[in-house]
């Protein structure tokens, strides 16, 4: 390990953690709040290669909010997660870091890195597994949903009788890094929602992005299909459009979350690829602590998509969540995955499972 690597992988994370702790200690009078979230999992898997049983260290999420003045606040979310290519097996990332100016009641201007407000999940749960109703994010997050935007956001919430809310975002394209957008043309996001009743939120959004060069897999966007050789990945321009619809109902007895994504990627090489996904979660609260649930997660990426490449999978799962309190829960989930099509595999169909997932999610 050379000096630079020592600095990057050992010293900076230690300074970073010390800084966070010092901020939290200094917090009280400046109304700064520090929280953390994490999770540990156990996986019992069955696939083509046989059976495996693994304990899994999940993401650990450090979250800071600070009210700087009456109208200006700061929010930061920083995650450390496993990465096998790192010398320490872990890498940090900035998931959100933003300054919010609340210029008039319930209307704000935000500048910074955000989770793109394209559906309920991406706007609400972020990296806090203790808030997740199930163990994993919908599959669409891997391939269709633009996850982050670095830019300018106009936000309104709790307006009128229906608690109307809006988000308009102008920011870097999803093929950009956090310091360079490769084009003059920004990405645009428009999102609307209403909350007609406590616990109910209905929303829709539209995302518009003309990528100068295709580059899936960067942090702002989503992944390209695994097993596609790097040199074979399309590198030309892509016109990306993403329409989402969400219905969330989290009541005392019944919980329902429906996330629908309709996504179009257009290239000069293969034309217009139409992709879609549907995630449905339903849970029944037997008590405040005890929730059995079911989920269906389907994604279909067209054969002619060369932004992330073709895929069709279906996941079905049954699970049970027990909440010890609002800061600790355990989820046990039995799931089966059908991979009906995959651009990176020669065969057409693969059956994975059933698999057992256990997740202990906590906040502190």
């Amino acid at each position: 390990m050379n000096c630079f690597e020592t600095l990057f992988y050992k010293i900076i994370p230690i300074i970073f953690c010390a800084l966070i702790l010092s901020i939290s200690t200094y917090a009280q009078n400046r109304q700064t709040q520090f929280n953390g979230f994490g999770h540990i999992e156990f996986h019992l898997d069955k696939d083509e290669n046989g059976n495996t049983a693994s304990f899994v260290m999940g993401e650990h999420d450090f979250f800071i909010t600070s009210t700087i003045t009456d109208k200006i606040s700061f929010l930061g979310e920083y995650v450390i997660r496993f990465n096998k290519n790192s010398p320490t097996n872990y890498l940090p990332s900035i998931e959100r870091s933003l300054v919010k100016f609340n210029y008039i009641n319930n209307h704000s201007i935000i500048v910074g890195k955000i989770h793109t407000p394209v559906n309920y999940w991406n706007d609400v749960y972020h990296h806090g597994r203790v808030f997740f109703p199930v163990i994993d994010r919908p599959i669409a997050f891997n391939y269709l949903v633009p996850l982050h935007t670095l830019g300018l956001q106009f936000q309104g919430q709790n307006l009128g009788k229906l608690n109307f809310g809006y988000d308009v975002v102008v920011g870097n394209s999803i093929n950009s890094t956090d310091v360079l957008n490769k084009s003059l043309i920004p990405s645009l996001t428009g999102s609307l929602h209403i909350k007609p009743k406590e616990g109910v939120r209905i929303g829709m959004s539209y995302y518009w992005d003309n990528l100068k060069n295709n580059m899936a897999g960067v942090h702002s966007g989503h992944s390209v299909m695994p097993n596609i050789p790097l040199d074979d990945i399309y590198k030309g321009p892509v016109k990306l459009r993403n329409l989402s619809f969400s219905y969330a109902q989290f009541g005392d007895k019944f919980e329902l979350l429906s996330e629908t994504v309709y996504n179009v990627s257009k290239t000069d090489s293969t034309g217009t690829a139409r992709n879609y996904s549907q995630f449905i979660y339903t849970g029944l609260n037997l008590s405040e602590k005890s929730t059995p649930y079911a989920l269906v997660d389907y994604i279909n990426i067209a054969d002619n998509d060369i932004h992330v490449y073709s895929l069709e999978t279906l996941k079905v799962a049954l699970g049970y969540k027990y909440s010890f309190n609002y800061l600790l829960n355990i989820k046990i989930q039995m799931e089966t995955n059908w991979e009906l099509r995959h651009a990176g595999h020669s065969h057409n169909s693969k059956y994975n499972g059933p698999s057992l997932r256990v997740q202990v999610a906590y906040g502190f």
Binding site: Q31, T67, K71, N105, P196, S258, Y262, N325
Partner: protein, 144 residues
Amino acid sequence: MKLKILILFILLIPMELTSQSQKLGDLDFLINVSNISSLSSKETISIFRNGRSLWPNDQRVTIVLPSNKSLFAEKVALELYGGSISSMQKFWLALVFQGRANPPVFLQTEEEIFDFVSKNPGSIGVVGKGHPKFPEKYRLTITQ
């Protein structure tokens, strides 16, 4: 065909768009905002559920709630949030985590809440009904 299935998914989603109503009979409210000494119960509940970020005078809304060890936290959680203390805390942590609210201030005793509200313009707090040391100067009258 696939798009039709997708639309069907959306249409099948049940919607139950009725509003909730709750009573605030077991609670006393206090406020430190100039020119506001009374609010309707609907407005009060809305404010305590993050319905307002700034007061008309542009001061930030600071919500002051009992912490989980407080003797009257259960009443507050039930009457203002319709659930347990844990669900009230989850409600706020989730909103703060979403970036859609500033964190409320959680204090253990009535005296601490009285003291905080009196010293911090823009704050609104709640305690159990009938505390003998309730500061009348900061009383928020709830109208129907």
